[in-house]
Amino acid sequence: MRHGRVPFILGFLVAPVTLYSYFVLWPYVQTINLSFYQWRGFTKKRWVGLENYDRMLHADRFWQALEHHAVILVLLPLATIAFALFFAFLLNVGGKGRGGKTAGVWGSSFYRVVFFLPQVLAVPVIGVLFATVYRPNESGLINGVLLKAGLDKPIGFLIEKNLALPALIAVLVWQAVGFYVVLFSAGMANIPAEIYEAAELDGASKVSLFFRVTLPLLWDTIQTAWVYLGILAFDAFAIVSVLAQDNGGPDGATTVLGLEIYNNMQQNRYGDAATYGVALCLLSLVFAAFTLRLTRRESYEY
């Protein structure tokens, strides 16, 4: 087994490492470097030291964005995981036990297909779709119904400062739930049926089944889900940029760091854009480190 080991390792690593260094690592490194310059994206860079950082830390929009990330970071995983767990439980265990087996409710395969659909829609599609869903007059999907039902003023989902961010988070949840239903279903399928049966025979209700059996045994998978959703929370840029009004509006009520990077790029302020980018990187790393601390340790077997 020692024979040919080194060429083998090199051979397997050379392509991925080269690609990764050239197209991913190197651009990031350049970005960090760029955050110390003023650069309009065309010609000369001017060294400005920490000026960009100073400006960022004094910008209202930066702190607004941070606040929004915090909100998304809490609401998005909570809502998504809660819904997904609930649905996955119904689909897998919610039906009537029969022949010594727990079963999902009727039609569960249909639901699984439908719930997953939002996952295959590209961001611009979601943007157009929800612009219609939320439109604040009688042609909006939600307001059209509410106004017919006697509401006298449409709800300004994307206009009201207090509603805009939750409305965007709702879209993210809407899109994500299906995936996590499938993920949790997979986890639940691995829970031995005997555990449920024993609990059922003891007269446990579905509710206590959920809290005493399913939840503890799925804890690992839920943590994984939390990490994914956390990363998504830091990357909410796309949905904000296609759906929010006035570039992260109203009045900055939905802005996120990604959008500030984008806005700075739009104004050819690449140094500032890079500075916000560095902030975003640091935050993502802190979050990942913090969350992963809870999960189990990696190990080598070979």
């Binding site: 350049q30 470097n33 604040p136 307001n143 992963l292 340790r297 190990s299």
Partner: protein
């Protein structure tokens, strides 16, 4: 996957993911110092590609000396005016004058998305119609030396009469409008008049008359509201600047056009003068009482469609609106324009005063391969035939003097042209939005806050002034004066 036992003592190489990420972060930092040098290399690489502009022999037919055998790349904003005027009128004209020079045409609704990578990649197109929601920042381009100085073009003999310079064949003020600190970099081609637009049919059918004073205006709004039609609205989602434009127009009428000059020049307290406050207050009331349902969340196309469907009476816009809406305008709609009514009894300017400008910006990129060809294209555009052809296709007059002779206008353009005549010398313009995109952005946001009742006029001027002061202090932003 929990197949393997995982106690760290059993696995000497065990690593927590946390340390993974920590060390990765350190690796990133360690790598930084080496970057400066390499980045410098990357820089010089891109500098090499900026080619020296080519030149050809000058002649009567080619006074700018554009190389006859070099192609030019033309990028047109495919928005309100479409791109047919370029493909059907200007490009054939250029080709006819310079048969050996090929014209490569591209159009887009998102100019920055298309052009920015081209510039960054060293393939700058010669001629760009920089307009629309996603246009490039003219101020930044000028500050960065990306734009061709158009002095040579304006001093060149015109196509129609070689004894006249191009600058003398244009509506006065055209060259200034596109100038930055005294040098012309942008050609604003379309004569644009701003005002409040309504349907002539709707007004005639109901016996409504356009208002001149503020009390007439609110009375008119009441009458319209009683009819179950929304009196006045703009699109908050993406076109709030249509409304700050109206507010500042009113302010200029109250306090004189110098108010706008002070705003453009970032003078201290320019936004906080009484005239701006009064105008903001008056319009905030219109916003509170007479708005179209949900207008703040709608895009300009949605709101304009509402007007075409007679659900909205008055809408602030420039005179491109008639062409923009031609597909959805019902028979007999008859676009008409009204100037902003006088807010006080003691306004410095008459109610007929208006904001007009040369609009729709065109630029030649200095780092393109053939900037002289780009300027020559502009010279052809600025001929009488070029102007006339443009007006025939898009129904909007250009800055070329006399190019509309013998043309009949559509009702909307006719009404804005009449308004322009009626205004006489009381025509003004403003520039800060093109110079400082950040200030435009802040003004848009503040306008939505004001018009939808979340802040009062005082807070409105306060917050825009704050932004203006920040920009004034910020040494990284190039300043412009007029």
């Amino acid at each position: 996957m929990s197949v393997t036992p995982e106690s760290p003592s059993q696995q000497p190489n065990a690593l927590s993911r946390r340390t993974v990420l920590q060390r990765a972060a350190v690796a990133g930092l360690v790598a930084t110092p080496a970057v400066g040098f390499l980045a410098a290399c990357a820089d010089s690489g891109s500098d090499d590609e900026t080619s020296t502009p080519n030149s050809g022999a000058t002649s009567a037919a080619n006074p700018l000396g554009a190389p006859e055998d070099q192609p030019i790349n033309v990028v047109i904003f495919n928005g309100g005016y479409g791109d047919k005027y370029a493909t059907d009128v200007h490009e054939p004209m250029y080709k006819k004058a310079h048969p050996k020079s090929e014209v490569k045409h591209q159009s887009s609704q998102a100019i920055s998305t298309l052009v920015q990578p081209l510039i960054a990649g060293g393939n700058a197109p010669e001629f760009v119609n920089n307009s629309g929601e996603k246009s490039l920042d003219f101020g930044a381009l000028v500050a960065d030396g990306q734009l061709q100085d158009l002095t040579a073009l304006f001093d060149a003999p015109s196509v129609d009469d070689p004894s006249k310079k191009v600058r003398d064949t244009l509506v006065p003020g055209t060259v200034d409008t596109g100038s930055f600190n005294g040098k012309p970099y942008v050609l604003y081609y379309v004569s644009t008049v701003f005002g409040i637009w309504y349907s002539g049919k709707l007004f005639t059918d109901n016996g409504w008359a356009p208002a001149k004073t503020w009390s007439e205006f609110t009375a008119l709004c009441d009458k319209i509201k009683a009819k179950g039609i929304a009196p006045y609205a703009y699109a908050g989602a993406n076109a709030a600047y249509y409304q700050w434009n109206i507010i500042l127009t009113s302010a200029a009428k109250i306090g004189g056009a110098d108010i706008l000059k002070n705003i453009d020049n970032l003078e201290d307290g320019a936004w906080k003068v009484d005239a701006v406050k009064q105008a903001a207050e008056a319009w905030a009331e219109i916003g509170a009482k007479y708005n179209l349902q949900g207008a703040e969340g709608l895009k300009h196309t949605d709101v304009q469609l509402k007007q075409n469907q007679y659900q909205l009476a008055m809408y602030p816009s420039g005179d491109w609106i008639e062409n923009e809406q031609k597909k959805d305008t019902p028979e007999g709609f008859k676009y008409q324009m009204l100037t902003t009514p006088s807010i006080t009894g003691s306004d410095k300017l008459k109610s007929t005063a208006l904001r007009a400008t040369a609009g729709e910006g065109y630029m030649v990129l200095a780092k393109s391969k053939n900037p002289k060809g780009g300027m020559e294209y502009m010279r052809q555009m600025l001929s009488k035939a070029g102007g006339k052809g443009f007006t025939e296709v898009v129904k909007a007059p250009t800055v070329v003097l006399g190019s509309t002779d013998g043309l009949t206008f559509t009702p909307g353009t006719q009404s804005s042209q009449d308004a322009l005549k009626a205004a006489g010398s009381e025509v003004f313009n403003l520039f800060f939005d093109g110079w400082y995109k950040d200030l435009d952005k802040e003004a848009r946001t503040a306008t939505n806050e004001l018009m939808f009742g979340r802040i009062k006029a005082d807070a409105f001027v306060e917050r825009i002034q704050k932004k203006a002061d920040e920009i004034k202090k910020d040494s990284s932003i190039t300043k412009f004066k007029r």
